[in-house]
């Protein structure tokens, strides 16, 4: 499994977690990550409003594919968004993103020192996420 990066966005579109898993990738600045998060939040809001079918309950943008990567988004019922950037044609990304959500529910939400909506600084989450995404390392 080649996952490039994991991003977590809070309800307001702020970036609360960001981690790269592939050292060979081009580095972008912390500010650029915030811009990606904010932009994606806006685009997601628009796509969930203007769905071509007449349904009111569109879930918004879920997958974005390009030549070099595929991005998968999963929005929880509480409005937190998990973004995963991976190699193109990486299968079962929805399973991966749900597992990351599970880890978040365990190691972030059950941690009494975490303040909701704030950046995630949880050693347990870091450790288990790394163990899941890159089991060999």
């Amino acid at each position: 499994m080649v996952v490039y990066a994991v991003l977590i966005l809070n309800k307001a579109g702020g970036l609360i977690y960001q981690r790269d898993f592939n050292p060979g990738l081009q580095k972008i600045s912390a500010n650029d990550y915030l811009i990606i998060a904010g932009t994606f939040h806006g685009v997601h809001a628009i796509t969930s409003q203007i769905s071509p079918t007449n349904d009111t309950g569109s879930s918004g943008l879920e997958v974005l594919e390009s030549e070099h990567f595929v991005m998968r988004c999963f929005q929880t019922l509480t409005g937190i968004k998990f973004l995963i950037f991976a190699e193109p044609r990486q299968p079962n990304l929805d399973v991966v993103v749900r597992r990351v959500y599970e880890l978040y529910a365990d190691y972030v939400m059950k941690n009494p020192f975490y303040q909701i909506e704030m950046p995630i600084r949880s050693e347990g989450f870091d450790r288990h996420l790394a163990a899941y995404i890159k089991p060999q390392a």
């Binding site: 190691y107 059950k110 941690n111 009494p112 020192f113 949880s122 347990g124």
Partner: protein, 226 residues
């Protein structure tokens, strides 16, 4: 005849006597005990009923997390917080020891030696609470009055990541409180503290350091002599 009703006189005696509400209606409202349909509360159950039952770890984690947050609001530092958690654990330990000995029935035994009580804690007590034994039980070489019980992955710390600015904190202080209460209950007064001691395999390894009061060692010495 009593024209001036005294304010100290219970004026509602008549009304409560005739009221159709059950006698303990007031009590239940004020103590929040839940009653089932058969009017049985938790106190009417047999104490062995929950002996082998299990509890959701998530529910416990949330409850414990809330407890830590609540304790954090009223303290001025890490030591203070650990003391608070220790006290919470102490209250659990006192009750738990009684339950444990009661469940042992006629085979229940009061430990009188240091090694005996430490083994009781790291085996029976640990198994009854966490369904596993403590990982090691050692004596501190330098100090005559200190012992260590270690747990590679304490259940209370599974989901807890302590922030860097509070790095000395270990929420295992709660378990330390339970151990302290069990020791006190057996007349082995001691101070128990929890310390983080990670190794490569177990990043969350916790050591409970038990420091006995001098009178315990004095008594132990007498027993060895006899």
């Amino acid at each position: 005849m009593n024209r001036d009703p005294s304010p100290f006189r219970p004026t509602s005696t008549a009304s409560t006597a005739t009221s159709p509400t059950p006698k303990y209606a007031n009590l239940t409202a004020s103590t929040n005990i839940r009653y089932s349909l058969t009017r049985k509360s938790i106190y009417d159950r047999h104490l062995n009923r929950t002996k082998t039952s299990e509890l959701s770890k998530s529910a416990f984690a949330f409850l414990f997390g809330e407890m830590v947050q609540y304790a954090q609001k009223k303290v001025y530092g890490v030591q203070d917080l650990e003391k608070k958690l220790n006290l919470h654990g102490y209250a659990v330990g006192q009750r738990f020891l009684e339950l444990l000995l009661w469940r042992d029935g006629r085979t229940a035994k009061r430990e009188t030696r240091i090694l005996g009580i430490l083994q009781f804690i790291s085996h029976q007590m640990y198994r009854a609470i966490f369904q596993k034994q403590a990982d090691t039980l050692e004596k501190v070489r330098e100090n005559e009055d200190e012992y260590m019980i270690s747990d590679n992955d304490p259940i209370v710390n599974t989901y807890i990541s302590v922030p860097k600015e509070m790095s000395q904190l270990n929420c295992g202080a709660f378990i330390a409180g339970i151990i302290e209460a069990v020791l006190d209950g057996h007349c082995f007064p001691a101070k128990v503290t929890a310390h983080t001691a990670p190794n490569d395999m177990w990043p969350g390894r916790t050591v409970f350091l038990i420091k006995f009061e001098p009178e315990v060692l004095e008594r132990e010495a007498l027993r060895v002599g006899s």
